[in-house]
């Protein structure tokens, strides 16, 4: 119905007569619907396909209807707490988020500072860049044994894995941003004799801010990837361990629900960092 209303009105039959009526006002609902309809349709189609594939005899995974029936408590009440590890998903997610917040915060501070150093000092760049290029390719979980050996406790080990996973993109993007401060801005600074710390604060940092936030955004995504995997091995309260625990008790429906939550939270984290970046770098992106 709404799709019809957005179509251009048919041309008047008699062109010689001036049309004095006001133009039809575009419906405000139509664009919302145009954005909302495709994902909803695709989601329904996907759920339908899943239901069909997982309902046959010999299917190994539960269909959506079974997930809903099995894990109804888990879906509708994320806040229950029956002591021990028997908690709602909210508490598991909160524990994971806490680790990510701490690890990512350290990675942000260390990453930006190191990136600034590498970006400004050619010596630091030549010395550190090759090492970083190698270290950043090490998979997050490969750090875990070393980390456990060093800290001898699960909590700091998990936080270290988050840190070491997310620090590389922050370092590298910050360094690139600092090195790519446009010559125009450097010329302006030279003419008004802006040097040293003032040059750094007033020109370099704002010019590099979009790059820094790109690094942070990649970093938060990697953190979330790493925490789920790390918690599977570490145990305790956390969404990763929840998934592992459900697997051990053959509770596949709970795993499906947890994965949906993991995805939604990861999406939310990405959007939060992107939003913070837009606020902090307003005006800088387009010039």
């Amino acid at each position: 119905m709404n799709a019809v209303s957005t179509k251009p009105a048919p041309a008047p039959a008699q062109l010689s007569r001036p049309v004095l009526t006001a133009l039809p006002r575009p419906s405000r609902l139509a664009p919302v619907l145009a954005n909302l309809l495709p994902p909803v349709l695709i989601l329904l189609a996907f759920l339908g396909l899943w239901e069909f594939l997982a309902s046959g005899p010999g299917a190994t995974l539960p269909p959506p209807s079974k997930v809903w029936a099995d894990s109804y408590d888990l879906i509708v009440d994320p806040f229950f707490d029956r002591g021990g590890l028997d908690k709602g998903l909210f508490w598991h997610l909160a524990a994971s988020l806490q680790r990510v917040a701490l690890g990512f915060a350290i990675a942000g501070v260390v990453g930006v500072l190191t990136g600034l150093l590498i970006g400004t000092s050619p010596f630091a760049m030549r010395g550190l860049d090759p090492i970083f290029q190698v270290l950043r390719t090490v998979p997050p979980l490969a750090w875990l044994p070393l980390s456990l050996a060093a800290f001898r406790e699960a909590q700091p080990s998990a936080i270290f894995v988050i840190f070491i996973t997310s620090v590389w993109p922050v370092i590298i993007n910050t360094a690139v941003g600092v090195r790519n401060v446009p010559q125009d801005y450097r010329n302006v600074a030279a003419v008004i004799r802006l040097r040293g710390p003032a040059f750094f604060w007033k020109i370099v940092l704002p010019a590099a801010a979009p790059y820094i936030f790109t690094g942070l955004r990649i970093g938060i995504g990697l953190s979330w990837l790493a925490i789920v995997a790390a918690e599977m091995l570490i145990g305790g309260v956390g969404i990763g361990f929840f998934v592992w625990d459900a697997w051990n008790s053959s509770n596949l429906s709970d795993i499906v629900v947890a994965l949906v939550y993991v995805g939604l939270v990861g999406f939310g984290l990405d959007r939060i960092v992107a939003f913070a970046g837009r606020i902090a770098t307003r005006g800088t992106q387009e010039s």
């Binding site: 801005y185 004799r193 005006g283």
Partner: protein, 267 residues
């Protein structure tokens, strides 16, 4: 007076980039008087902008040098404020803050807070941009950005104002409007101006003298034309003025008959 005639003294200036076998500019000699408006015109690639960058101190001279008011130039500084071709406003600062940063760094050191504030507003008013002082560069048009660039340069109270094709990227109407404003400012502040341009009408309308460069590389001053027109100048009245037309013809003749663009000739 000797120093007033040779306020800005470019002597035997040659510039060669490290990787190039021939110099960009060769033995450029030019004396500019205090308060004079001089345009430098030439085809693309003749080294006009290079010359301006050397005066600004952003590029070093290979041989020869530039002396401003008895002191040799050895680096950039606010006494030679530049209005860049692409405005070069800092996009994260508002128009006011862009000018304020320049003021704080230069002439503002001897002023109080309130005085700085007033001085920034005065310069924004000079280019008729008071209404947009709290907007960011991305929110205003190209002509407005260039006006803020001019305000920023003037706010440093420069001895010489260097304009690097300041109106090149603007449409014809905006350009004419800004040219008139620059003429007004030149009249009211009496600033010495060196302007790089490739627009013949602009050069004749604004300048006291037009310096024509031969084709690059290895370019030098081909001819200097004095534009003997009284100020204030009015673009409409001048359109048919014989002196204006003669000057315009002379520059066109230099650029297109005697020193036609080699790149275009080959094409």
């Amino acid at each position: 007076m000797q120093t007033d005639d040779r306020f800005l003294d470019i002597s035997q200036l040659s510039i060669q980039f490290p990787k190039s076998p021939v110099p960009v500019l060769r033995q450029v000699d030019l004396q500019i008087a205090r308060g004079e408006y001089v345009s430098v015109i030439g085809h693309s690639g003749c080294g006009k902008s290079t010359l301006l960058n050397v005066i600004a101190g952003l590029l070093p001279a290979t041989a020869g040098g530039v002396v401003l008011e008895g002191r040799e130039i050895d680096g950039p500084g606010p006494d030679r404020a530049v209005v860049f071709q692409n405005h070069s406003l800092l996009p994260w600062l508002t128009c006011y803050e862009n000018v304020r940063l320049a003021v704080d760094q230069t002439v503002g050191r001897k002023m109080g807070r309130a005085e700085r504030h007033d001085w920034v507003l005065e310069n924004l008013a000079l280019v008729h941009m008071s209404h947009a002082k709290d907007k960011r560069p991305a929110e205003i048009s190209g002509g407005m950005k260039q006006r803020i660039g001019i305000a920023r340069a003037l706010a440093m109270k420069p001895k010489v104002l260097l304009l690097d094709e300041p109106f090149g990227a603007l449409d014809a109407l905006t350009r004419a409007h800004l040219q008139d404003q620059v003429m007004e400012i030149h009249a009211s502040r009496g600033t010495t101006v060196v302007m790089i341009t490739h627009d013949v009408d602009e050069a004749v309308l604004l300048s006291d003298r037009i310096v024509m460069l031969t084709n690059g590389p290895n370019a030098t001053v081909g001819e200097v034309l004095k534009v003997d027109l009284p100020r204030p100048r009015d673009r409409l009245a001048l359109a048919a003025d014989p002196v204006f037309v003669a000057a315009r013809t002379a520059v066109l003749e230099f650029l297109h008959a005697r020193h036609a663009n080699p790149a275009l000739a080959a094409a």
